[in-house]
Point group: C2
Chain length 647, copies 2
Amino acid sequence: MKDPKKSIVIEAVSPTVDGGRYPVKREVGDLFEVQADIFKEGHDHLLAFLKFRPWNADAWQETPMRYVDNDRWGGAFRLAENTRYVFTIEAVTDVFRSWLADFDKRVGADQDVRSDLLEGAQHLRAAAGRASGGVRQSLERYAARFTAADQAAAVAAAREPALAALMDGTLDRTDATWAREFEVVVDRERARFAAWYEFFPRSGQTPGKHATFRDAEFQLRRAAAMGFDVVYLPPIHPIGRAHRKGRNNALVAKPGEPGSPWAIGGPEGGHTAVHPDLGTIEDFDRFVETARSLGLEVALDFAIQCSPDHPYVREHPEWFFHRPDGTIKYAENPPKKYQDVYPVNFYGSDPEPLWKEMRRILDFWIAHGVRAFRVDNPHTKPVRFWEWLVREIQNEHPDIVFLAEAFTRPKMMKVLAKAGFSQSYTYFTWRNEKRELAEYLTEITTPPVSDHFRGNLWPNTPDILHETLQLGGHPAFKMRLVLAATLSSLYGIYSGYELCENVPREPGSEEYLDSEKYEIKARDWNAPGNLVGFITRVNTIRRAHPALQRMTTLEFFPSTDDAVVWYAKITPERDDVVFVAASLDVTRTRESLVDVPIDRLGLRADEPYVMHELLSDQTWEWRGPRGYVKLDPAVDPAQIFHLRRRA
Amino acid sequence: MKDPKKSIVIEAVSPTVDGGRYPVKREVGDLFEVQADIFKEGHDHLLAFLKFRPWNADAWQETPMRYVDNDRWGGAFRLAENTRYVFTIEAVTDVFRSWLADFDKRVGADQDVRSDLLEGAQHLRAAAGRASGGVRQSLERYAARFTAADQAAAVAAAREPALAALMDGTLDRTDATWAREFEVVVDRERARFAAWYEFFPRSGQTPGKHATFRDAEFQLRRAAAMGFDVVYLPPIHPIGRAHRKGRNNALVAKPGEPGSPWAIGGPEGGHTAVHPDLGTIEDFDRFVETARSLGLEVALDFAIQCSPDHPYVREHPEWFFHRPDGTIKYAENPPKKYQDVYPVNFYGSDPEPLWKEMRRILDFWIAHGVRAFRVDNPHTKPVRFWEWLVREIQNEHPDIVFLAEAFTRPKMMKVLAKAGFSQSYTYFTWRNEKRELAEYLTEITTPPVSDHFRGNLWPNTPDILHETLQLGGHPAFKMRLVLAATLSSLYGIYSGYELCENVPREPGSEEYLDSEKYEIKARDWNAPGNLVGFITRVNTIRRAHPALQRMTTLEFFPSTDDAVVWYAKITPERDDVVFVAASLDVTRTRESLVDVPIDRLGLRADEPYVMHELLSDQTWEWRGPRGYVKLDPAVDPAQIFHLRRRA
């Protein structure tokens, strides 16, 4: 029963994630638009303020909210900083305007308003008491005019805009109602717009020879030249000897075989050590610096698992699962066994040392210039751990980006994103039909999912070579690249993609033959038929087009051919309009009529517009709500059009 | 970082209102079905339990939840009591089945499972430690078989259903994850299914003579004979003299004019007193008892406002708004003035005495047998007050029903329902077109609105005589009655409806001429053309058909004529199927083809079915997905069909 005047209802605040349980995600520079239902018993006029502050700041900033319709209010503020903001809403009765509205009606009905003027004067004097100097004097003068004998003059005074401005400036918020606090994580732009390139730094230019970070600078130059923004390295740590896997995941490695980088840890060290064959930590620092000078950043793999030779096994046996026979459990997905890897036990009685050590690992690499982590299998560790870890890290380093490699059930993928992961792998690889592509990509690029989930689309990874690529070859590689690079503002490829490597270990398998996970590769990057130029072109187009740099600008439109997907990326201001046509059938030429929403683009039915196909640099003139595309897999299994009005 | 094993995610619990901020509403006897997303990192098997208890009980009851699909789980319990239940979800790892699933895979792959059996035996011994007697011994015997030399026998033992049952019975829930607690208010059935009849008890059979409660027993018999369940009385308290309104809301009452019952309070008392001309409190008790004997209950008006003569004005001047000139503010909706009524000030520094007094008023009438209150203008008092009041009352008297008379903006109407009101007036009166009827009624009878809001549909009230009735006369009264009585399981009429009273104070006004609010009426209930028989028939049909007694069974289906609305009420079990056709055009006969969802009703395309029109008792045989209706306003502007399979 306390605070009887705090009776304003504030509900249905939007955007929020699970009613405020988790933060919303946005990026620096965005205008953050908040709406809420705000109303009160009776007929008072209300004022509402959108309040916000970085989580570690004490003082609220605020911006007024405006009435939209049907008790809905809206306000917005610019997300200027890479931080986590807290936001809420403060709503208060506008006592003066409530009084004025009734007063106006009474005056309009020629009623006696002497008593109302006395009441108004009371409000003015109360406001004067909250003010000082000239404002105070002005308000007191107005109050005196209210109670003077000349009622017509008093009415005129009450209606002066200058008075309303004075009353606004002395608003009493003692009895304001506050909503609960919500959060919005504001990441840097790279969290939303980036092209990732994954490569194994140990694979160099000499067959069978373990490359060093110095050698791998060649890869950085290649990635930069192709227009990538982030290079992601599988684990760079010492690799265990015990139960080391051989070529093609053989149970026993032959002498000299390097083992899987995910069997982390050896006598040389664990998660904060560098594999000696790659070089030293100083070599790594130089590698990061070279990357930076090329406009690239380095993302590391964060895989919480250990080889039997990892120092933790000796130092912290309590961090592992022990069988009754005394052995430590290795990783399994029965009946598959991964004897070279021990999973980490998150269910010990005191998780604090383990959690803090995980944080220490990240802090170590952050101190060495790493700003992004691709997290291996986060869905096998407690969600609460990730929520804690990401928050802890981002409290200190709000620029750190976490990519969740969780290929698992949809709700777990989403809750990991809610709990803090900046980006997530997706089902894109397994979405190869027209309808499922439209449904899935629409789902993850529109609210509520897009408020917490940023899909990073990968046509391949070292673990996933989809049948579409195995069977479709070169045209399929081009088509899937264009889809990944334009459906989302985040995409990535694993190296070898540009060479259209597509031989599976066996028919029906999604694993690569001679997987790079178990051996050192040396590739001829200039092999005939390579996609280097094509990829470079696509990345150049992405960098030139703001519509492709945003996550939530995607919309599918009808096309007559079932194998032709047709979608647009349009900036909210409609100042950049990109259409993409892609043929899912790479066996023959497809033709399709495609719909263009000319009304929404502000084009008249008879108005010609320019469709500039950016991959081929060809230009057509279209007119009206329907166009025509022809996709020849040998030439252009996908097309990217920039729509322009005619000059 | 505490409780590291409590890592199960429980989210998207349904049904909830605003994520659990407010209770869900149901009625006694309902099966309450709860779903939630429940999942955990890794691949463990989970168990989940739906827990529930009356709010004032300590012990949880529970029922197991079952896996539905895509990490969605469901469970249900019967709402046996008229109380507020608390419910939540407890989820726990099924350690044994998780172990068994992996074990089975290993056995299937012919792997060495000795170590796994040791681990299994550990689980069994731990379970034995939680058990006693025979169960303990059985588990210890199983554990011994696990570790015996004969591995085949051990494998067989592990797979015995009897073992799984023993393990289920000794499940360790120490590390279970609990969801937050939610609430469901379980009202008695009358909160959902009732026909209300409003009459002024002071209006009797003699023109100009104030009737008594004894006289009004005649009205009870009429209401019961027509098949109503609840009689609702405007305020029965003493009426103020000061500024009493006269006939047709005249500013000054003539001598002998009774005044508005909503100008509550006089020298004879306030909200807990009975108007002396109606009789004594004992007369009221007898009236309530007579109603009960007729199968009726009495609903009182609860209007928190006072005449200038109310005892509160003298005893609690702090409960009113004071003008600077010393006068107390009367009610206004500028420029309209209600000088005979003082609004109550809920914004005093200490609301507790006022809130408690309001509760005392309700407790007083509850002690006199009142079980339902129609609350006047709740939207002009703080929502938090209602939330407190309804909860306080229902904690003691869960059978009390509150009807919110809030004809205001949609979000305020909804939040009052969320905050506790059992039923709500609606916009039904102003929904007279086909599309708007379908949209509005669908909105309020389906989730999320139907989870907290029960619409009570009134074709008229003492304040609202809609143009449809003014212009449409007799057929419009029949049509709107059938709509109200079949679109919702709750409806009501204000007396005079059965006489088709439809003269407005002036053209364009929704107010009655010679409004009963300001004068005593005497009516000829047997006047020619009365709808008494028709209303009786409609109420009889409602009582015979379970589909009409539920709120959420409504579905609209297509009809070819724009003036013909066509909808069904179908029980979830499809054992009662009612269709309604109503013509919104009462000027001429309308014919329409109407769709019948025969597939969902389990009817073959060529299968004939019986359409029994219940108002006329005529029967047709229809076949296939389309029927034909003809609505002659002079005969049947609306029809109610019971669909039956042929014997």
